[in-house]
């Protein structure tokens, strides 16, 4: 198929960016979206032009590196996948596709489609852990039974890949789903209860400091999340936050 691409180009963090139009031809429907981008980049190199920078690594939907805003949706039109799992069969011959970076104050553009997600790192550093040394001298792994129900819910929350699609999809650029996923994972496990109070307070405080907006329950994050992390986690985090704030 033949496509028209309108892609955000920006040389560096301080430069002004703009949409630039490219044409690609003979794109196979079996290609992944990023393979289509590879084809475009190869053609740019052949023409002595600077290829388009975009983040990507594992190309199997788990590292969380890829981050394209495609036709107005983080990770494109399909559901429950990352950009690298999006295939060209989702598009039609002759389509025009708009490709932009994540847009949020807390995610400044580094170059072209690459953004800086260090804000997420700092939120995790504020409390996204259980304070246990890695000596191996803990108790036996089966010493505390954990109900399968809670263990599964914890796993569902822990499936977050930290890509930032929740922020990019939110009209408030809120990072609530991301933070809630981590808070929930630990809040659901006995190991995480000890520090639950400090964790939720510190992570939320850092989230606010980074300039993410607040949650107004539009639910766009849940729809666009490549791992389908549930909004229930935000409700759980709000409960944890309230509990931690009044006791």
């Amino acid at each position: 198929m033949n496509l028209t691409l309108k892609i955000w180009r920006q040389k560096g963090p301080q430069d002004k960016g703009q949409m630039v139009e490219y044409k690609v031809t003979d794109i196979s429907e079996h290609m992944s979206f990023l393979e289509m981008m590879d084809v475009l980049n190869e053609s740019l190199v052949a023409k002595d032009e600077v290829p388009i920078a975009f983040d990507h690594d594992c190309r199997e939907g788990i590292c969380g590196m890829c981050s394209l805003h495609i036709n107005g949706e983080p990770h494109g039109p399909d559901r429950g996948i990352t950009t690298c799992q999006l295939h060209m069969r989702t598009f039609k011959d002759g389509d025009t596709i708009y490709i932009e970076p994540w847009r949020a104050k807390a995610f400044p553009v580094i170059k072209d489609l690459v953004v800086d997600r260090m804000a997420f790192e700092r939120i995790q550093q504020a409390g996204g852990y259980i304070s246990v040394n890695t000596s191996g001298n803990t108790q036996d792994a089966n010493a505390i039974p954990i109900s399968k129900y809670n263990a599964d819910l914890s796993m569902d929350a822990a499936a977050c890949i930290g890509c930032g699609a929740c922020v990019a999809s939110c009209k408030n650029s809120s990072a609530m789903l991301f933070v809630a996923a981590k808070v929930s994972q630990f809040a659901l496990l006995p190991q995480g209860k000890v520090e639950a109070k400090d964790r939720v307070l510190n992570m939320v405080a850092q989230m606010d400091l980074e300039g993410f907006g607040n949650c107004t329950n539009t639910g766009a994050c849940e729809v666009e999340c490549p791992k389908s992390i549930s909004l229930e986690n935000i409700a759980r985090m709000n409960r944890e936050y309230l509990k931690a704030s009044i006791i």
Binding site: C58, A158, Q185
Partner: protein
């Protein structure tokens, strides 16, 4: 020829590690504060090492080329992690895990290292649970286990199909705790481009800031390389796009021996390739072989019809299917080790029984498992006379719970529903058992330079068993290196900070800058990927699943030619002082072009078939791998002398005192 000193402690194998730990030198807490350690790579091995070393009190600088440690490719490991907990009561023990690993590795690994790995395996699970890793549990609330290839017990712990992700997030959280305390200084989007040696010891690295392009000097008292394997030498592999061998190769060129490069794992269950534009291959976890049955059509005309799209697999009756693994290996069936399964699939496809348009695929079929689970589920829920449809619905739900994310991943790529039509799979490069040579302390042949995880060679011999990579990465990082590195650093407590304004740093920085300048200024004609793809094709066709003398000799010549062409005609657009992914790739491919040649040379030199290394000249009458213990029971450790073709071979003879060398049989 020098003999390598592997520094294996004395004593019975069961007690070696304990005795060793009792007698090593320790660094007191106050002195640890004056010692710096660089850790390059933040996957399971590097991440766990960085966190643990920081907890101990050392000052750690950690480097990752991605924008966060959480994105290292350990995250993509799906199936699980082995540990000899014997929670299932099925006869597992440290010894059995040790035995299975040595046997699975086709008797080409070091006994003492593997036993230590088995000994610490249980602590990994304890540790991870304490960190909040949400492993799968059964209804009683205890941890669940499943079975993997090459073993007869269930010792694999898992977190859905995302075990690597959860373990990595566990180590990432431990790192974050130390980053917050200032004990780890984290350098995201940085790539190590060379190591700096002072008085023969590793004392620092040169790194490039991938955002600004700035070249930086970092010093330390010891350097730990944890940068994973070199599978991307094949261009197409299940590795991440950025996975590279540059750190490992650069230290090789500075004196670290490189061991057994030809031991590479081709994983049997990957999604087949579809076209020339393909950028990478996707793994379907080995855990699927617990429930999936592998087959091809018995009749060649059926295979042909399928290849042409005129026949559906579901239309082929049971009698016309060849479950070739169950047929050839009745004892282990679909759960034979990876090397065996891969070769068997290739053999069937080469004979014309392959099942997609390219003829390079076999089926992995869940229909039997869906029926079995569905019937059980119906009984449990009190439905005595379930209809066929009810059974299938119930069975599919069980399969979805176990492998849902894998099935979804498959459906997205192939656009077929694997619950209804069997999956198509084909072998692909997945893991490299070979790597930087290390002694028992995980130190390379350069003092103060350590190598852990997939990047080293030590524990998996010629073939790695499923769910053992995660185990080794975390064992090295959490429980082995933190002890062994102290023994070395105990002599460094009076050294003080290492300055970076020395001639040694000047010299290495200059060579790094010269190479980058060359790439940017070279007026070439072809992109980096053009050369990488060419290299990959040679590697896959001549140094892939089956190798022979003629092919290997041709491969060496062809790789040399591609390398020559690369240095003349490579074209790198953009500038030095900016984010420049093409420039990053150029350096990595330059190293692959040398490593590939050593790889082929090693494969040529090893005149036997063992594990992932299959030489067509060395097979038994029934087509199985024929090992030669008399002449090849050694580790081939290569010393760099200026060119891969002139590398000098050093042999570490492998002694098997606790396990009898046997022909590996899974029949």
């Amino acid at each position: 020829m020098t003999t390598l000193n592997s520094r294996i402690p004395e004593g019975p194998i069961k007690d070696k590690w304990t005795l060793y730990k009792d007698h090593i030198d320790l660094v007191n807490p106050a002195n640890k504060r004056n010692i710096d350690i660089i850790v390059v790579g933040t996957g399971l091995a590097g991440g766990s090492a960085a966190a643990t070393l920081a907890e101990l009190g050392y000052n750690v600088k950690a480097f990752a080329y991605q924008d966060s440690p959480r994105r290292a490719h350990s995250i993509a490991a799906q199936g699980g992690i082995n540990a000899a907990k014997n929670y299932m009561g099925d006869g597992d023990s440290n010894y059995r895990l040790f035995y299975d690993t040595v046997k699975g590795g086709d008797y080409r690994s070091r006994e003492a290292n593997v036993h230590r790995l088995a000994e610490v395996s249980g602590a990994i699970i304890d540790q991870c649970v304490a960190q909040g890793v949400p492993f799968a549990r059964d209804y009683g609330g205890l941890l669940d286990n499943r079975s993997f290839g090459g073993v007869l017990v269930s010792r694999t712990f898992y977190a859905k199909g995302q075990t690597g992700q959860q373990l990595l997030l566990g180590c990432y959280s431990a790192m974050n705790r130390q980053i917050a305390r200032g004990k780890i200084e984290m350098f995201n989007r940085h790539e190590m481009l060379d190591v700096v040696k002072i008085d023969g010891k590793a004392r620092g690295i040169i790194a490039r800031d991938l955002i600004t392009g700035e070249i930086e000097r970092h010093s330390a008292h010891a350097v730990v390389i944890a940068t994973g394997g070199y599978g991307n030498v094949y261009f197409l592999s299940t590795n991440a796009m950025g996975s590279n061998a540059t750190a490992a190769w650069k230290i090789h060129k500075k004196g670290a021996y490189f061991a057994n490069p030809c031991f590479t794992q081709i994983h049997p269950t990957c999604i087949p390739r579809s076209g020339d534009y393909q950028s990478k291959l996707t793994l379907m976890s080995e855990s699927l072989r617990n429930d999936g049955r592998i087959w091809v059509p018995k009749k060649i005309e059926d295979a042909k019809a399928i290849q042409q799209g005129n026949l559906k697999p579901t239309a082929i009756v049971e009698e016309d299917r060849d479950y070739f693994l169950e047929r050839r290996y009745p004892a282990y069936g679909n759960l034979v080790p990876r090397d065996v399964a891969s070769r068997a699939a290739k053999e069937r496809c080469d004979a014309g029984h392959g099942v997609n348009a390219t003829g390079e695929a076999v089926y992995l079929d869940f229909a039997a498992a869906i029926n079995r689970y569905g019937s059980t589920k119906a009984k449990i829920s009190g439905n005595q006379n379930p209809s066929k449809e009810e059974i299938i619905t119930l069975g599919e739900a069980v399969i979805e719970e176990k492998y849902g994310n894998l099935f979804q991943m498959y459906e997205k790529i192939i656009d077929e529903n694997p619950y209804k039509t069997p999956m198509m799979i084909y072998p692909a490069t997945h893991y490299t058992m070979g790597g930087v040579w290390v002694d028992y302390n995980l130190m390379t042949t350069v003092p103060g330079l350590y190598c852990i995880g997939e990047a080293n060679f030590s524990d998996h011999g010629a073939n790695r068993l499923g769910a053992s990579a995660l185990m080794q990465g975390l064992a090295d990082g959490y429980f082995v290196l933190p002890y062994t590195i102290g023994d070395y650093l105990a002599d460094d407590i009076r050294t003080g900070k290492i300055p970076t304004d020395s001639p040694e740093f000047d010299e290495v920085e200059k060579s790094v800058k010269d190479q980058l300048d060359f790439f940017i200024n070279n007026e070439g004609t072809h992109s980096v990927d053009y050369f990488h793809k060419k290299l990959g094709l040679v590697m896959w066709n001549k140094v892939g699943m089956a190798r022979n003398e003629k092919g290997l000799k041709e491969a060496i010549k062809e790789i040399q030619d591609i390398r020559k062409d690369f240095w003349k005609n490579v074209k790198v657009p953009g500038d030095l002082n900016e984010m420049n992914p093409e420039l990053e790739k150029a350096g990595r491919v330059a190293d692959f072009l040398e490593l590939g040649e050593l790889f082929a040379k090693d494969a040529l030199e090893r005149e036997e078939s063992c594990g992932g290394h299959f030489r067509e000249e060395h097979i038994t009458e029934d087509g199985e791998a024929k090992r030669d213990d008399k002449n090849f029971a050694y580790v081939a450790a290569w010393e760099y002398t200026g060119k891969p073709s002139e590398a000098i071979l050093h042999k570490e003879e492998l002694e098997f005192k606790d396990i009898e060398l046997k022909t590996r049989s899974y029949k």
